[in-house]
């Protein structure tokens, strides 16, 4: 689709306004173009290495519409294979997860290793000599597959920049999240798989929106009053930061308990000892300043286009995809230190569910807000613009300003409607 008469975003730094066309949330042509211009070219989260911890472990997962078989092969190497048979296309693995020495496509019985290589097929004698050695006889790996600190990403564009470069400033924050643990992080069993009847970009905005908390989550803060001794813990306050390439983060203090490591009265004296011990380990390993940042600050980290890692009262990894302009599916996990004690794991999960997820005290209200934005956008022909100008022009925008959304939308716009490239010869003339 071409850039239409009306721009997708409308920015005026001088007058301090940043507007986003509501058409971007409803137009099927925009949604189609997003599939091609964003999801085909960006690094997308596949899964965490802990989900396939041992050789032979596998999970199947859908990423940007592709069925992917994520395995650890017999040599311990991670693989991301397109879950389709090289013979005549059937899905090779039909289970969500498990452990297997090999995968047999049930249609005609071809057998593949966890590395995707063809091992055997019925009626081998009828095939050409050397058939098995052909690359085309194996399952096809995803075009690009790289990881950063245990988080594995795929990209369907062979020419994409390396993941390391793509992540830009987000790496610093992934490091902080991972440094909670001395022994590495693991995904906790149990996937929250839900949906929202709204455009996927509304969840991007919402996940890094520090502005909506007190009104949308009023009942959650009422609840916190009853568990934290009147919110005596950390105060709300902090900053929003543009991390480059469309990534952004909020970093801020907050009154809730953090399993690594901010104590609240509801956790009692046993809890205080455990939290003190965790905090002392961080100070010993990283010094007081970094320990303080890891333990006491909260982070809502957004990695363009659809990965959110919230390191708040628990730590969640969340990814989401548009199924239609007004419907998205969401998968969310809890991630936690491997060495965590049973006590801390229990409180982490208790904390997680009080706020996060479709049965929590907060996420359903977020979903309600997003769905009502989507309904509001039915008026987009006449009421055309969203405003995300809060905090524009500030030297350091606050965590409850809207810098993060501006970082996202600027990148979104650059990918959707790249400025025409000027031909060098013309430019010189």
């Amino acid at each position: 689709m071409e850039r239409s008469e009306q721009p997708a975003i409308w920015v005026d730094e001088g007058q301090k306004f940043f507007k986003v066309a509501r058409r971007n949330f409803v137009d099927p042509e925009i949604w189609q173009a997003e599939k091609e211009r964003i999801f085909e070219h960006c690094w997308l989260y596949l899964g965490h290495e802990s989900e396939v911890a041992k050789p032979g472990d596998f999970i199947t997962r859908t990423v940007a519409g592709r069925g992917i078989l994520f395995t650890r092969d017999s040599k311990g190497e991670l693989r991301a294979l397109l879950n389709t048979c090289p013979h005549r296309g059937a899905q090779v693995c039909r289970e969500r997860k498990g452990s297997a020495k090999s995968f047999q496509c049930f249609y005609h019985g071809w057998v593949f290793g966890a590395d995707g290589r063809l091992r055997s097929q019925p009626g081998e004698a009828s095939y050409a000599e050397g058939f098995k050695a052909r690359e085309s006889s194996n399952m096809t790996p995803v075009p690009r597959f790289e990881s950063y600190r245990g988080f594995n990403f795929v990209c369907f564009d062979r020419d994409v920049v390396p993941l390391d470069e793509y992540l830009a400033g987000a790496k610093e924050y992934l490091d902080i999240v991972c440094d909670q643990s001395a022994s590495g992080m693991s995904i906790v069993a149990g996937t929250q798989e839900y949906s929202i009847r709204a455009n996927w970009k509304l969840l991007t905005e919402n996940s890094i929106d520090g502005y909506h908390a007190t009104t949308t989550h009023a009942t959650y803060f009422d609840y916190l009053m009853n568990t934290t001794d009147g919110l005596t813990g950390g105060r709300m306050g902090g900053f929003g930061i543009d991390l480059g390439n469309g990534h952004a983060v909020l970093e801020y203090g907050a009154p809730w308990g953090r399993p690594v490591a901010q104590w609240i009265p509801a956790w009692g004296e046993d809890g205080r000892r455990e939290i003190d011990r965790l905090y002392a380990r961080l100070v010993a390993d990283y010094g007081e300043a970094r320990a303080d940042r890891i333990a006491k600050m909260n982070r809502n980290l957004f990695i363009f286009p659809n990965l959110v890692i919230n390191d708040i009262m628990a730590t969640t990894v969340r990814t989401y995809y548009p199924v239609a302009p007004d419907y998205m599916t969401i998968n969310a996990w809890a991630v936690a230190p491997n060495e965590e004690t049973a006590w801390a794991r229990k409180f982490r999960l208790y904390n997680f569910l009080e706020f996060l997820g479709p049965g929590g005290f907060a996420t359903p209200d977020d979903a309600e807000a997003l769905e009502h934005c989507q309904r509001g956008f039915a008026n987009n022909k006449e009421a055309q613009w969203n405003d995300i100008s809060k905090g524009m022009g500030k030297a350091r925008p606050s965590y409850d300003d809207e810098l993060q959304m501006r970082a996202f939308w600027t990148q979104w716009n650059n990918r959707m409607f790249p400025p025409p490239t000027v031909n060098k010869a013309q430019a010189a003339a």
Partner: protein
């Protein structure tokens, strides 16, 4: 179990579960909360977990102790619980009620449920089995634990469990 103790019949368990469902359908949540013991739990596991999953080890959708269940009720009665304001209409169909075991004052029961939730022109359906640990008290049956296991692969398209199942 003392020899004189009367056993609880399936019909009694059914009556109890039907009246629980009716309280929920009428949004009489504070009264409903009164059906739970002080040490009660209410859980909804994620749909990719094994049957014996524990909420202190695995991620659930809901894992309330009695304190948080009380907070859930308080929240849902406020107009600032936006997902349920105005309250959705719900209809709970409870069936296949069975008494699984009885020991001392405890009755283990299982029922299946189909819960419809309607709001803003959309009706969602939640289907599954509910496992109860009930306690016989002087005031009648009370709930010590309630675990709702959904049959769906995921929470789609309903997207949320903002009501009590």
């Amino acid at each position: 179990m003392s020899a004189t103790m009367t056993r609880v019949s399936r019909a009694e368990v059914e009556d109890f579960l039907f009246s629980e469902a009716d309280l929920l359908d009428q949004w009489r949540l504070p009264e409903w909360l009164g059906l739970f013991t002080d040490d009660a739990t209410y859980e909804v596991p994620c749909t990719d977990l094994p049957a014996d999953a524990r909420s202190d080890e695995s991620l659930f959708y809901i894992a309330d102790d009695r304190f948080r269940l009380g907070e859930r009720v308080k929240r849902l009665m406020k107009r600032t619980a936006h997902a349920e304001f105005p309250h959705s209409k719900t209809r709970r169909l409870i069936g296949n009620v069975r008494v699984l075991a009885q020991q001392d004052d405890q009755v283990d029961a299982k029922a299946v449920f189909a819960t419809y939730r309607t709001k803003d022109g959309v009706t969602d359906l939640y289907v599954g089995a509910a496992y109860y640990e009930l306690v016989v008290t002087a005031d009648g049956l009370r709930i010590r634990s309630k675990r709702c296991v959904l049959d769906s692969d995921s929470l789609r398209p309903s997207g949320r469990i903002s009501i009590v199942l």
